[in-house]
Amino acid sequence: MRISKIVPAGAGAAFVVLLAVLPLLSVSLPGILPGPTYTPGALQLLALCMVYASLALSYNLLLGTGGLLSFGHALYFGCGAYGLGILLERTDLSLWPAFGLTLLAAGVIAVVTGAVSLRVTGIPFAMVTLAFAQAGSVLVRRNPGGLTGGEEGLSLATEHVPDALVGVVHTRNLYWAALAVVVVAYLVVLWMDRSRVGHVAAAARENELRVRALGLQPYTAKLVVFVVGGLIASLSGVMYLLLQSGTVPRSVGADLTITVLVMVVLGGVGSRWGAIVGGVLYTLLNQRLTLLAGSDAVESLPAVLHVPLSEPMFILGALFVLVVLFVPGGIAGTAAKLTGRGGSRSGTTVLETADSERELEEARP
């Protein structure tokens, strides 16, 4: 290992250790966290940031590595959240076997839906994945056999969950679990990016025809990337269920996928730490903007300003449009440009290569 590899790895490990001891310290970040870092409120918010960060990491694996613009990623997050929720409520399984079964089920669903949707590429792929996620969302809202709780959502049945993961007093355990989920997600994504199959998927993103001409199987590689992304997403879903002690239909819907897309683009497509930063930043912004919307300062503004400012999604949507228009590389791309390190691919190139239509058009005689 060269020194240039050890330093970032060491810095990353140190950062994780710092995050791990945060519940034992009293650090106040007024305006960002609702209280000092040892309080349950602050830990809950930080843990939620981590859940979304790992979801964003999994989406970045799809979009950044595989060039797959999926609009159905929330389906696998929902599989994790609802799968575990239903198993804990309806069966006598304890947490770990139920967890394993949930991941297995989510994996099977990801294989089946991925195998069908990868028959098309580019924009049609986006639409097909959207349709699958929509079917899942409709299913959850319909509440078949009272399994999913319909619009009300499903609350966590706590009989079979270890006491250490239940209740406000144990928020710090949930926080550590969420931190572990991010670390696992990061390591798996890193491993995928460096593996043979990851290289084939990335090469297929750049030029599928050439990969095929080399005798490799881009379809299989993309399917593996898709399924691993789905599994990490369902892991985040499981963590979401435990953290929020329940889940709502929103966690399967297209809205969530779009939210994750916003996180990844905000952070910078194709950058692992960009995805994490995007996920954390988005969650914090969403939380803060909702508080801002209800504040007296906004209420007292004239309607022209008051109406848009009281809608967090309006501000985030507008911010997203501005980032896409003017900051194509997102946060990671801008940081790379500022520090003068051209090593990482910029978000623009990654996005361009996700567009297979263009490639076909150019290949057409």
Binding site: R119, V120, P308
Partner: protein
């Protein structure tokens, strides 16, 4: 028998709505390769402002209804044109980013509509005749279905005539076929991009007003729910194919209605299954170009 007629009429009405949304999506995709997520927002805005116009005149009168249709179409066309000029054009040839911009726009606009009009659906009224029913073969078919089907058929006819008989229509068709060649012939295809967006936006705005009558309410989430089915329709029909969109709209809506009635409300799943089936057999859709 009467049930079947009723399901047919309702299915055709719903198919007409799908077509009004999907025609624009398909044209835009065919020419520009942009998947327009903001299309639902055009529809919602058309419905909301169209109904506001109808209220000004008197929602239960025919002039009010016609005004709402015209306002809906104009609003849809106007917003779509602005979107193309301000957001899509600066990202020329960067298709995925164009999609992302429309995603952002739809997020922001739905939130804005909710801020202005509230999240709850507003129940609307139209001319009394629309709420009455006509007996066909023993079935009581609501009259608004006929209006919706008629308007959609007119829109289809108008678009077909426009595409086949006018110079701009010819440029658009040629652009769908081979954009590089059209540009090489010295024709500015980009002007037709704006045109296609305006046409699609008008159809969506019109569809919004009619959808409000079909469902009986307007709400900021009206467009989003129709948009997903319109996506499915465009994929099944073949992206970029107008006839494909028309045929698939009717097929999808009928399938949905019949499955909902005879198979215990499974319409939405049957459609997704149909989509998966079509993709397995013909990945380019029913009438799409062979990939």
């Amino acid at each position: 028998m009467s049930t079947i007629v009723l399901l047919l009429a309702t299915g055709l009405g719903l198919g007409a709505l799908y077509f009004l949304v999907a025609s624009g999506l398909s044209l835009i995709y065919g020419l520009m390769h942009v998947l327009n997520f903001a299309h639902g927002a055009f529809l919602t805005l058309g419905a909301l402002l169209g109904y506001a116009a109808a209220l000004r005149l008197d929602a239960t009168s025919w002039p009010g209804f016609i005004a709402s249709i015209l306002v809906g179409a104009l609003v849809g066309a106007g917003v779509a044109t602005l979107t193309e000029l301000l957001l899509i054009r600066p990202l020329y040839e960067r298709h995925i980013e164009q999609v992302l911009v429309t995603v952002g726009l739809s997020l922001a606009s739905v939130a804005l509509f909710e801020g202005i009009w509230g999240t709850d659906p507003t129940f609307i009224r139209g001319p009394a005749w629309l709420d009455e029913t006509t007996g066909i073969l023993g079935a009581r078919v609501p009259n608004d279905r006929f209006v919706i089907i008629g308007v959609a058929a007119l829109v289809l006819l108008a678009i077909v005539v426009f595409l086949r008989r006018t110079r701009y229509g010819m440029i658009i068709r040629a652009g769908v076929e081979n954009r590089a060649m059209v540009t090489a012939l010295g024709i500015d295809v980009r002007r037709s991009f704006t045109l296609v967006f305006a046409i699609g936006g008008a159809a969506a705005g019109l569809g919004g007003v009619l959808a409000a009558h079909y469902f009986g309410y307007v709400s900021p989430s009206l467009g989003g729910s129709l948009l997903i089915f319109a996506f499915i329709v465009t994929v099944i029909g073949g992206l970029g194919s107008l006839t494909g969109a028309a045929v698939a709209s009717v097929l999808v809506a009928l399938l949905q209605q019949f499955a909902n009635y005879y198979a215990g409300g499974t319409g939405d799943f049957v459609i997704v299954l149909a989509l998966a089936g079509v993709l397995l057999v013909r990945p380019s859709g029913l009438m799409g170009k062979a990939a």
